[in-house]
Symmetry: C2
């Protein structure tokens, strides 16, 4: 058993899908007890209020489209901080082991002899559709569900994805980070035998105050997504379960979702009014 | 907007995989504010301490193998309690929309005109392998992951599962509730082209103090599971990512996991000692 005082301890924590209330109790505890918080999570600002006064908070996520640190540098930083004897909480969006590179970070920790714990989180692949009124499984619709990284360029020759199996063999498909590749994902699925009438939903900023959904079919979704200017971060759901949204949507029906509450303090004479805006729901 | 005072409100809440700390902050809030708690979750006892003094708690889960209530009766009970104006928290294991029949319960609520919210939870399909040291995705291993209900008898002729696609087309497979059908699941996968050397893990009572893992390959797992007397509740993970467990397992290496801490108070003369046992980690 390594000595925590000299070796530290790392928590690989999933922060959940965006709604700050969807973090786990254990995840919150790991934030509260951290000596060092290393985070790359877009919505993590909501969690910074939970850290101790002495906690060092380091942002390693994207800044203007680019990562501020490479994965290798992030790995080195985690090891360095833990090796100095700190309790390090590594906060990641969604779940650390679902397309989150948490496995790679854990491997580095094992190699460095640093103890770690994995704190699973609610993945946006499940929660974003749930907030859009789409259960990914349903007895009357499907008994299979697949998660696919949409990161890979589907036009590349040596795709590691078996498109015929996905297109015809699986009921519900969820693509992560695939909005940029939406046209080629749709094309591959139809080419490989998925009916063009299959319902599709895009959910952007799922579970947050900016939550937005666009639906269509494999035939219409590319044009609809373009018309709605849907961009990352969004996930794509393909399958008959998308139809259930017509009945089950609830989050987007809440009266204040997406509305901006504008607070306009009475201006002093000669001053322009100051406007403060607050989103709702995230 | 329905009037909450007359129509009530239902929260469909995922309690997470078993470790009581893996419930979400929102899930805990829904338990605390409930007028009625309807639960079928095996490990839910840990949550009962959070309800208000006035909360009515109704268990509708399994009792000695049988459900105490049918799904239709559960649906009727939720509607009845909400229609009486109560805030009803419906607590389910894992995530309500992943093989949890939450979609069906939501449909019933829509039909009855009762407002509801879905509170996603950490699914055991992801968390149990994570506690066993198995990331379901990993850049070097796979870019696809499928969840399959193992409930269906795979020997039945008209399987709704496309076994050839699952066997050859998807990197990581997770079967829910499939332990009873393990021999036929394994047979189907091998028959349809999955290499018999493919690693397999069974995780029983994942993330709880009774967490236990058995590993093997498609060739050996049936015998190994039998030798270890593995039964439900357990999930099955098939795929190369299972190999990572050799490096990444952490939860089962914690010194007190599975140990029972026996507290033996000094007996009074003539009395037999009373034994209290406490699991660790769940």
């Amino acid at each position: 058993m390594p000595n925590k005082a000299t070796k530290g301890l790392v928590y690989l924590v999933g922060a959940g899908p965006g709604d700050p209330e969807l973090i786990t109790a254990k995840g919150l505890r790991c934030i509260r007890t951290a000596d060092v918080l290393i985070y790359d999570y877009l919505a993590a600002k909501a969690f910074l209020s939970h850290v101790s006064a002495a906690c060092e908070c380091i942002y390693v996520g994207k800044k203007g489209g680019d990562h501020t640190l490479s994965q290798d540098s992030i790995n080195a930083l985690i090891v360095e901080k833990a090796a100095a004897g700190n309790v390090v909480t590594r906060l990641k969006g969604g779940d650390p082991f679902i397309f989150g590179r948490g496995g790679e970070e854990a491997e580095v920790l094992v190699e460095a002899g640093i103890p770690f714990e994995v704190v699973p989180g609610v993945t946006s692949a499940i929660a974003a559709p749930a907030y859009a009124g789409i259960p990914l499984t349903h007895r009357d619709y499907t008994s299979t569900l697949a998660f696919v990284t949409g990161h890979e360029d589907p036009t590349k020759k040596s795709s590691s994805i078996d498109w015929p199996s996905l297109a015809k063999g699986i009921g519900t498909l969820v693509f992560f980070m695939g909005v940029k590749n939406l046209p080629s994902i749709v094309e591959r699925l139809v080419q490989n035998g998925r009916a063009p009438e299959t319902p599709v939903a895009l959910v952007r900023w799922g579970t947050t105050s900016r939550h937005r959904t666009v639906t269509g079919t494999l035939k219409t979704i590319v044009a609809r997504a373009k018309a709605a200017a849907m961009k990352a971060p969004a996930i794509i759901v393909v399958g008959k379960v998308v139809e259930l949204r017509d009945t089950l949507q609830w989050f987007e029906r809440r009266p204040l979702l997406g509305k901006r509450i504008v607070v306009t303090p009475r201006p002093c004479p000669g001053q322009r009014p100051r406007r403060e805006t607050h989103g709702y729901g995230g």
